[in-house]
């Protein structure tokens, strides 16, 4: 893609930031080894170097396929991803010391597997950037994607428990020793579908309304899709026993709706419906039990984590309390990377990775990580503002919001703000599905931000040799005309 003189692509800034991020990851690895072994092994830099090579490759792909993409997305995500790999490797090191084993190899243990998953995820992201040259082309497969998304959400619910249940949440497909979390990928498909649907319907939804108490409420018949998605997410809540995922899907839809129509009433309706549904589920769990019992359990644990009864019960608040104590031990500045004892917290490599890291890098470090997440979300929303077609706006806005909501759900769970539910921390916690899906999300944001920041002359339409533009009619989503 030729560069237009007088414009800045930001690619060199991206390279510089990436180098800084990798130096931080290497510094983290070094500090961990200094604290764990009391000396530096000659190989402490190898994971950071491998990651650098991977991210550099992605950077080159972006240079060739999305020259004008946002420069800070990749470095920020790379930093979080790298620190995740570093922390997981730190857990492996602690384990090998406790078991008096030699130091694990680069690709051994949880950290090594995470490194391998990062490779796979980056390859997927690069493939997405190479295949999808124009984000509007995705809207042609919107209904297919919507169907795929719903099927992906449903599969774990219908599978028998032994194929789909891990730690009480039915979110998985287990084949052999291998398990994937289809819901992570469903997010992406559903965002694309919602965006396409709302581009078509935005006028009906935003103009036809009744005014009650100064707020415009939509007509009854326009509520259909919202109610459908609400039911879907409640089904997820009940049958997959997972509040976080339910909140994620529903929040995603309501916010995309709000972005499309600029109507606050959708947010109000959404919040009331969700909290109403959750409260009813809680009451049903207390009285009827059955499929609602799991949710009732989690809510009780959340409300009274320090009760001896909850603390000592299996599946009780032990994990939550250990996580809170870890965060408390860390205090402002933490015990230093590698000097804490995250081993006390069950599942510290998945859901509770923030508690484990928080103990070692303290509030000061955790807030830096949180600001990084905030910046990623901000760049996503910025891409939505910058791009010039409604489909791209809604996809970018929806994806960025989902990422932010997911961080909120898991962090809120760990810190006791909301009932704990098993969400992964994007880019940080161990697990291939989450890493792959979130890198695909970033690739999509890169693609959209490239379209928004590209100078008009460099657009695909202006160069005959460039990537082929899909015919306008195919993705030209017609908006529906309102008949009063």
């Amino acid at each position: 893609m030729p560069r237009v003189p007088g414009t800045r692509t930001g690619r060199n800034a991206e390279l510089g930031l990436l180098a800084l991020a990798m130096i931080i990851v290497a510094a983290y690895g070094a500090t961990v080894e200094a604290n764990q072994f009391d000396k530096l092994t000659p190989t402490f830099w190898v994971p950071a170097a491998l990651l650098s090579v991977l991210f550099l490759a992605l950077h080159l792909v972006v240079r060739f396929t999305a020259l004008h993409a946002d420069p800070v997305l990749i470095p920020t995500v790379a930093l979080i991803n790298g620190l995740g790999v570093g922390f997981l490797r730190r857990l492996d090191l602690a384990k090998s010391i406790a078991e008096k084993q030699p130091e694990p190899g680069i690709f051994a243990g949880v950290g090594g597997r995470q490194l391998a998953w990062t490779l796979v995820a980056l390859v997927l992201a690069a493939v997405l950037l190479l295949v999808v040259r124009d984000h509007k082309a995705v809207s042609r497969y919107a209904y297919t994607l919507g169907l795929v998304g719903i099927v992906l959400v449903m599969i774990p619910a219908v599978l028998p428990g032994r194929f789909s249940e891990i730690n009480g949440a039915k979110l998985w497909i287990k084949i052999g020793g291998f398990s994937i979390q289809p819901g992570e990928f469903a997010k992406l498909a559903l965002v694309s579908f919602f965006a396409y649907y709302l581009v078509r319907k935005r006028e009906v939804l935003s103009l036809a309304s009744r005014r009650v108490l100064g707020i415009d409420f939509p007509r009854g018949r326009d509520l259909g899709p919202v109610i459908t998605v609400w039911l879907l997410s409640l089904l997820v809540l009940v049958f997959e026993k997972d509040l976080g995922t339910a909140l994620l899907y529903f929040g995603l839809f309501v916010v995309t709706l709000y972005v499309a129509t600029e109507r606050v009433s959708w947010l109000l309706i959404g919040l009331v419906m969700f909290f109403g549904g959750v409260y009813v589920a809680y009451l049903l769990g207390a009285s009827v039990g059955g499929p609602f019992a799991n949710f009732y359990d989690r809510a009780t644990v959340w409300l009274h984590p320090f009760d001896a009864e909850n603390y000592n019960r299996i599946g009780g608040s032990y994990q939550l309390v250990q996580g809170l104590l870890g965060l408390g031990t860390g205090g402002l500045f933490g015990t230093g990377p590698g000097a804490g004892s995250p081993g006390f917290v069950p599942e510290v490599r998945n859901d509770f990775i923030f508690a484990g890291m928080g103990e070692e890098i303290g509030l000061f470090g955790l807030s830096a990580l949180l600001v990084c997440y905030l910046l990623i979300v901000e760049r996503g929303l910025r891409a939505a503002l910058g791009v010039r077609d409604s489909f791209g706006k809604l996809v970018a806005g929806g994806l960025a919001f989902t990422l932010g909501l997911q961080v909120f759900v898991i962090l809120g769970g760990i810190t006791g703000l909301i009932p704990l539910t098993g969400q992964t921390t994007p880019f940080l916690s161990s697990g291939g599905s989450s890493l792959m899906a979130n890198w695909l999300l970033i690739a999509m944001l890169l693609r959209i931000s490239d379209a928004g920041r590209r100078p008009a002359a460099a657009g695909p339409a202006a160069q005959p040799g460039g990537p082929k533009q899909p015919p306008a009619q195919l993705h030209g989503a017609m908006t529906e005309v309102i008949k009063p």
Binding site: A27, V72, P75, C372, L375
Partner: protein
């Protein structure tokens, strides 16, 4: 390993993290506030506090080439398009360069065409017309910097 080195490493790591955060903010500082600036431009009345003197823009800005097209009012307010050498089409059709969702805009409403460094606005047979400042655009009309092009409820300006 001495305690001193460990302490330095522990705090050094945290400082590095924050240096990274601030460097990132530095890179994106420019367009973090882009929306805010353009909003205040819209809000300020003509000639009062506005950054761009709108009274005699053609004379004041002569000799400077337009580099950006900025939407100053309407749903897309704050959107910026970096200008190159290709024409810019404006309308409700999804394949326009600038897709505006404005009830008073046509599917293919108007276009901006560069000729020898000067941009011309041309109406494409729209229903409600295109206005340059106060006058209706009938043929290709040169657009001076900072003069609003009005399409329905949307206003656009060329900026250096």
């Amino acid at each position: 390993m001495p305690e001193f080195v460990l302490t330095v490493a522990r705090f050094g790591f945290l400082i590095l993290l924050w240096i990274f955060v601030f460097t990132v903010v530095g890179v994106i500082r420019k367009d973090l506030f882009a929306g805010v600036r353009s909003k205040s431009l819209v809000a300020s009345p003509r000639g009062v506090g506005g950054v761009v003197p709108q009274g005699r823009p053609a004379k004041a800005k002569r000799g400077k080439a337009a580099r950006q097209l900025v939407v100053t009012a309407g749903q897309l307010a704050g959107t910026r398009i970096t200008l190159g050498e290709a024409q810019i089409t404006i309308g409700r059709a999804e394949d326009s360069t600038l897709v505006i969702t404005d009830d008073f805009a046509s599917a293919r409403h108007a276009r901006l065409v560069p000729r020898d460094g000067q941009w011309f606005v041309e109406d494409l047979g729209s229903t409600n017309g295109t206005y340059l400042d106060r006058g209706k655009v009938s043929g290709p009309t040169p657009v001076p910097l900072g003069v609003p092009i009005r399409i329905g409820r949307t206003s656009l300006e060329l900026r250096p």
